[in-house]
């Protein structure tokens, strides 16, 4: 267990020394929510609804970028091969990145909560704040899995660009920036296939504003998506050890 914590703390130290990673990750959802949820008020007074949309948008960033960019970088430069030659377990390497992505996501959530309570008058019960935190912290997993897949497949210099190509359209098509009903009907069908849509629906369910699909179907989808990603990654395990490039 000690080794896992050491790896997580070392990884955290690296992240904390990279303001170019965490400052945009914190700022984007907070600023977007301020403009679209408070100043312009696209929500027409439903600030709690948009809080959840932007919370989902915010927590997708750290696992996407951290897993994809750092794995691509460490793999491309051979650090991952070196680490795998050491007594360190590969799982502890992944665990560290998962945990730290969740930690950064939790910080984003807290910033959004404080912003929404202070500036938009959002009032939720303690159990709702807590459940949202739990859902969105655990909800980083599917995006971490997708980030790992990107990290395993693309070169380090391309990783951030590829993440943006997936992250931003995924947020838009899941209705995280604008309600889905303002978009063409076909977007809704695309949304059903995206993990971000299912995660945000779980969040909406906490405040009683989810779609008509039962919450457990969203959980089942998210689990299946994560497991499928992991299965694909297992098939690509050679790329982590450097046996494939």
């Amino acid at each position: 267990m000690n080794q896992w914590l050491v790896e997580a703390q070392m990884d955290m130290r690296v992240l904390l020394r990279s303001p170019s990673f965490y400052l945009p990750a914190f700022a984007f959802p907070v600023v977007f929510y301020f403009f679209f949820g408070i100043m312009v008020d696209f929500s027409n007074g439903h600030s709690d609804y948009l809080l959840i949309s932007y919370a989902c948008f915010g927590i997708m960033g750290p696992p996407f970028f951290h897993l994809a960019v750092s794995i691509a970088s460490e793999r491309t430069h051979g650090w991952l091969t070196l680490k795998l030659l050491s007594p360190m377990k590969f799982n502890s390497f992944i665990f560290a990145k998962l945990v730290n992505s969740a930690v950064f996501s939790a910080v984003i959530l807290l910033l959004l909560y404080i912003e929404s309570a202070w500036l938009a008058g959002v009032r939720l019960w303690f159990w709702q704040w807590g459940l949202l935190t739990l859902i969105f912290t655990l909800g980083t997993l599917p995006f971490a899995a997708l980030g790992m897949l990107i990290g395993a497949l693309v070169a380090d210099r391309a990783a951030a660009g590829v993440v943006n190509l997936i992250y931003l359209p995924m947020a838009l098509l899941s209705g995280l920036w604008f309600p889905l009903f303002l978009m063409p009907d076909w977007v809704q069908w695309v949304a059903y296939g995206l993990p971000s849509y299912h995660l945000v629906q779980l969040g909406y369910a906490v405040i009683g504003k989810a779609d008509e699909v039962s919450w457990y179907w969203h959980i089942i989808y998210l689990c299946l998506f994560s497991v499928s990603m992991m299965a694909v990654l297992k098939g690509l395990s050679g790329r982590f050890s450097g046996s494939q490039s």
Partner: protein, 417 residues
């Protein structure tokens, strides 16, 4: 390496969550209100106490209950009426919240995005605290390609041919529509409109709706289209008209076939005269309505100013009042000249100004509306009904403007205003 930073992190997150603000605590949705005058939606009762248990009316009696229930204090001269039903709105954003400000606890949405329908259905089946009026809705409306309704940003259901009528109805019901709304303008109608479906299509859609046991209501805006809609078997007309006075023939057919009408007088008055809001409603309201939001009520009226149209509007209100036709009260908010909640009161004040009896007027916005829209447990103050209740300071007989400032509004038994 220590586990301490992780433990401290978790404790800090939990502490911050605990410090985040919670909603204001609400009182239980069980209480008795009285002694007070009661209009139950149909008539004045000889009862003076209304008791509510968990959001449902359980007792209406002349004597106070024996139980130690919380009693809501009242003042002499105050009245209870059922929560009001606005029979024609387009509800999105804060609409249903604003409706509650004026005691409107149920709205009939006659063209809205279907994504709202399922949520509204779940919401209205619950007696939990909610800061919104309940909603029954038509969802997408059925119209012609390029017809009325296609200009609003999300798609209605344009009928291209006769054979798609049944599909239009089935799809609406599958999406959660509570009834079918059809847009129709007869060829040669006096009031120009966008392209319309044909009379045969209108008939087919109405028949398909009836085959599936749902109401078919029709948007018309002129006398001839109203005649066609009634002849085609419509259950209701969701607008009146002002191009001519209602003919005896039309009134006779509507009475015989029990077709109801939602005249939406205020939006028409705004169109052809444009003075009711500025000279009657807003002065009576004072500061009951955010003046910053009053532009929609006061600005841009009389774009079709015409003395004869205005006279026809008044005449039709009188003729409907003298007839046996069921008239429901609807505002068509938030179209020009209207706003959610307050414009339903404006409709009631319009009826009052045309000498409609106050009990008939309130009945049109409560029990009659619930009955005609097939809503079982709304619109009346009676045992078993949802505790959607409005407390006002005096009898509406002394002036409908008392409804502009309800002293309390209960939704599901919770005092929400």
């Amino acid at each position: 390496m220590s586990k301490l930073p992780w433990i401290v992190g978790v404790v800090v997150v939990a502490a911050l969550l605990w410090l985040l603000p919670e909603p204001a605590p609400v009182e239980e949705n069980s209480f008795t209100v009285g002694p007070i005058n009661v209009f139950d939606g149909e008539k004045v009762l000889q009862a003076h106490y209304v008791s509510v248990e968990e959001g449902v009316i359980v007792r209406v009696d002349s004597q106070p209950p024996n139980t130690n229930q919380r009693v809501y204090p009242t003042k002499p001269g105050q009245w209870l009426i059922p929560g009001l039903i606005d029979s024609h709105v387009h509800a999105w954003g804060k609409a249903r919240e604003q409706a509650l400000d004026f005691g409107v606890t149920t709205v009939i949405d006659l063209f809205g995005h279907p994504s709202e329908l399922v949520k509204a259905r779940q919401q209205r089946s619950s007696v939990q605290l909610q800061q919104e009026a309940d909603m029954w809705g038509a969802g997408r409306l059925v119209t012609a390609p390029q017809g009325h309704g296609t200009q609003f940003g999300f798609s209605p259901h344009p009928l291209a041919d006769n054979d798609s009528a049944e599909a239009a109805v089935s799809e609406r019901i599958a999406e959660g529509s509570d009834f079918i709304k059809i847009v129709y303008t007869a060829e040669g109608a006096a009031y120009p409109h966008r392209p319309s479906i044909s009379y045969q299509q209108l008939q087919r859609v109405i028949q398909a709706a009836h085959a599936q046991q749902v109401l078919a209501v029709v948007h018309i805006a002129d006398h001839l289209s109203a005649e066609h809609a009634v002849a085609a078997g419509a259950d209701g007309l969701v607008h009146g008209f002002f191009d001519k006075p209602m003919s005896e023939e039309l009134m006779g057919v509507m009475e015989d076939s029990q077709v109801f009408v939602v005249p939406t007088n205020i939006i028409y008055e705004h169109l052809v005269h444009g003075e009711f809001n500025t000279k009657v409603l807003l002065p009576a309201c004072g500061d009951c309505f955010n003046q910053g939001n009053a532009n929609n009520l006061s600005g841009g009226g009389a774009t079709m100013a015409s003395t004869s149209f205005y006279n026809n509007l008044q005449t039709n209100t009188r003729l409907l009042n003298e007839s046996e036709i069921d008239v429901l009260v609807g505002s068509d908010a938030p179209n020009p000249g209207t706003a959610h909640g307050i414009s339903l009161i404006a409709e009631l004040m319009w009826l009052e100004a045309q000498d409609v009896n106050w009990q008939d007027a309130i009945n049109s916005a409560t029990a009659l509306a619930a009955s005609r829209w097939r809503i079982n447990n709304r619109g009346r103050l009676a045992v078993g009904q949802r505790a959607d209740i409005v407390l006002i300071d005096s009898s509406p007989e002394q002036g409908m403007q008392v409804l502009l400032e309800p002293q309390a509004v209960w939704k599901n038994g919770y005092q929400v205003r």
